[in-house]
Symmetry: C2
Subunit: 330 residues, 2 copies
Amino acid sequence: MPEGTPRQDLIVGVDLGGTKILSGVFTPQLKRIATAKLSTKSERGYGAVVERIDRCIRDAVDEADVSMKQIRGIGIGAPGAVNPETGEVLFAPNLKWKDAPLKRDLEKMLGVPVFAENDCNVCTLGVHAVELDAKPQNIVGIFVGTGIGAGIFINGRLFGGFNRTAGEIGHMVLQVGGPKCGCGNRGCFEALASRTAIFRKLSDAVRDGAKSQLTELLGPGEEITDLKSGDLRKAIRKGDKLVQKVVEEASEYIGIATANVINFLNPEVIVLGGGVLDALQDDMMPLIQTTARDYAMTGTDKGIQIIASRLGDEAGITGSAVLARQGLKG
Amino acid sequence: MPEGTPRQDLIVGVDLGGTKILSGVFTPQLKRIATAKLSTKSERGYGAVVERIDRCIRDAVDEADVSMKQIRGIGIGAPGAVNPETGEVLFAPNLKWKDAPLKRDLEKMLGVPVFAENDCNVCTLGVHAVELDAKPQNIVGIFVGTGIGAGIFINGRLFGGFNRTAGEIGHMVLQVGGPKCGCGNRGCFEALASRTAIFRKLSDAVRDGAKSQLTELLGPGEEITDLKSGDLRKAIRKGDKLVQKVVEEASEYIGIATANVINFLNPEVIVLGGGVLDALQDDMMPLIQTTARDYAMTGTDKGIQIIASRLGDEAGITGSAVLARQGLKG
């Protein structure tokens, strides 16, 4: 490129979460140039959040020392059912959005093509492009954080299902009659193995008199449920038996859910990510893998990879950049 | 067609089961002309079973008053993992087959193109073609009989997965730590709601002193587990509370598994079939539907149909005929 001609092929990936917005500026080769972060403040309503997304994107662009004119496209992953053709967020319970015309509104504000998808779908797309060299035709990404969701990639493209809600694996029942889930049912995967479920179990155990070093990490007025996944790792490193046991139980449930996916959909790769896995990968993956292969029917898991994503926090912005890149091509 | 010129466009569909072989001669419009039936006798080994399939096909052709020369193609559904490209049965535990070149051997014996697929896949294909007018792009068929399996139809075609074992929904864990399954694990869907599971529960309850009219249906030396799904319907009609309760429990598990499919894959239609459903459709479907919609996350089941197949015993031969018709076109 001749000096003085600024590049005009950059893309932005946005990860819209219930509590924070992340954005990143990428080259077409998915090299990350800069990022920005803002709280979501969903309680202020749809219009305010869209303005914050706009600001977060402009912050990242500024941070990258480039201008909006150099951005060819923007991808965004949103926590809910998204129609990728229209860029509408059909419903997003955490944000209390319904039929929100996200693509249209952002394009109006930013003057750049916008592509929207479900957040777990874009994370899966990111892993596929960056960690799996875009090779496998069928993969499932399972993301374990505050909640649990999945992204499904079939025959070389994302699969949204009839209502664009495919991948709601957090509400797959693993234990009929099991613990109550936020959705109102019992025994959902999310009620057994999410960050929320793990901390609720730990909190209950400590209240019932069990010993844990987690109590030493609490600031004044803090509850065990205020702690982070990283604190679990620290406690395990210090030999905390209670935390180890609860994390092992969660790993077994994640392994069983993985086996359910192998038995039912039989994808080539199952990739695990999300805040809990990012913090506890080394502690959880061996047991997840063993359990998944134990519960997979004989012959069904042959050659299937069960791996942890190394993209961590960046899976969302990376995948959204991939989404934009695909959209611009297509 | 001028008189005297026999039609040459007929197709044969074969349903290869663990205990019996069914075959049917169809017109290209899927009108059934004749059928035949033979026991499988899998204990005699692969070669003997292939000869019996050959005989069963020739029986149906004879029954239809036509000759093999009028048959353009044969489709066959086999109980196991099948590679539809090569027509090999990769493994079929019930038949004790491994890497069996079924297509090649049948073509050698019959001199007609043969197309092979997994049995639940062909049943789903049959329902799609005959009962759903080949319209929906994404459907899942769940077949509840002695065991439980599923067929997955995505983006307008059957989906086999990486090891051609997609659809093993019978081994989806619904109740961690639940009853022992034939596969060695616990709490599988099949261990909770199959014909085998239903009769085991009834047999245990009667042994523990519960009253049931099923005992009156037993011939000398017969056990409750020797009865058929139709006997359950008769007992319910006569007001048998025990049978009603156990069938209701199975319906709830089937409803929960259906919800798991809605939450995870979100197909347009879920169709239920198999021996248990064929016999107990009226008794089970309302509870299956209510339970599935209860357990489906809000918004995920909107517009999704949960229906029972009316093809009954003929789903397999019909679907295999559809398979052959597709294969001959393609």
